[in-house]
């Protein structure tokens, strides 16, 4: 049988992100991600295990916390997405499976989703063109999370800081559609202007 060697490749075919002080986008393609969902009746045990292992308090509703270099993002009722850099071949699925045996189901998401970071003073205006939720700071701030869509592409959106910096996680096969929309939406802010 022939050997099949799979080489990692970018989720984006056409990647020419805006890179100005007012608006910049980057693809975070070196992440390891795992989703986990509490087993029936084990919600409290799960919270305690995550708190003991990482010092993180899992958000009960749409929110994001960071602890020990891992971001825990609410991903639906009693479900979360854990995200960190893939440094040193860190494998979040294996790590969480060991720590959450019997109290949660853990599934690797590293190759299922990609994360796009969008930041700058124009980031909110660009996202507002395709995201149907209120991104005004009084409604959506650092730590906020929303499962929604951007120009018909399902995303989990969260705000990282006040720059503002946002990140959107989407299924890998939609990454190019998302990028296409993003670059079109960004065009008016990056073209040569006095």
């Amino acid at each position: 049988m022939a050997d099949h060697i799979l080489t990692p490749s970018s989720a984006f075919m056409d990647w020419h992100p805006p890179a100005t002080p007012k608006l910049a986008a980057s693809a975070r393609e070196t992440l390891t991600m795992a989703s986990f969902a509490a087993a029936r009746g084990k919600e409290q045990a799960l919270r305690e295990a995550i708190s003991a292992a990482y010092g993180a308090v899992l958000p009960k509703s749409a929110g994001r916390v960071e602890a020990g270099g891992i971001a825990f993002v609410w991903a639906g009722p009693d479900q979360w997405l854990a995200i960190t850099e893939h440094e040193g071949a860190r494998d979040l699925e294996a790590e969480l499976k060991e720590k959450l045996t019997g109290i949660a189901s853990v599934v690797d998401q590293s190759d299922s989703r990609v994360v796009v970071r969008i930041s700058g003073s124009r980031a909110r205006s660009v996202l507002a063109k395709g995201v149907p939720i209120d991104l005004h700071p009084r409604a959506f701030a650092p730590g906020s999370v929303a499962i929604t869509h951007a120009s018909h592409v399902g995303i989990i959106l969260w705000q990282v800081d006040d720059a503002p910096t946002y990140e959107a996680a989407m299924f890998r096969s939609y990454a190019d559609s998302f990028a296409h929309w993003l670059f079109e939406a960004a065009a008016e802010y990056v073209s040569a202007q006095p």
Binding site: S61, G76, P77, A146, I147
Partner: protein
């Protein structure tokens, strides 16, 4: 029309899928009157103006099933509950009445 998802907050209609009447109960397919019961269940629906209890699915959001009480004449939403809570409450009510 906007629906206030108990998990996600108020969201626009395009994030949801309408999934039918929340008041009808799927008949027992093994019952002796199953054929008639399913005809009634599937086709014999009234469509009165005013308040309806409906199932909605937050498809582009948290994926929760919701029971929305809505006036179909005005689109005013009176309440939004998690279908899971409604089903669990119905189950415990049946259990209580049986004991």
């Amino acid at each position: 029309m906007r629906i206030a998802c108990p998990h996600c907050g108020e969201r626009s209609l395009d994030e949801f899928l309408y999934s039918g009447d929340a008041t009808v109960k799927r008949p027992d397919f093994a019952g002796t009157t199953a054929m008639d019961d399913f005809v009634t269940y599937t086709f014999e629906r009234t469509n009165p103006p005013g308040p309806h209890r409906e199932l909605w699915y937050h498809a582009a959001g948290c994926h929760a099933w919701l029971v929305v009480t809505r006036n179909v004449s005005t689109h005013a939403v009176a309440s939004v509950e998690l279908a899971r809570d409604v089903a669990l409450a119905a189950k415990s009510a049946t259990k209580d009445s049986a004991s």
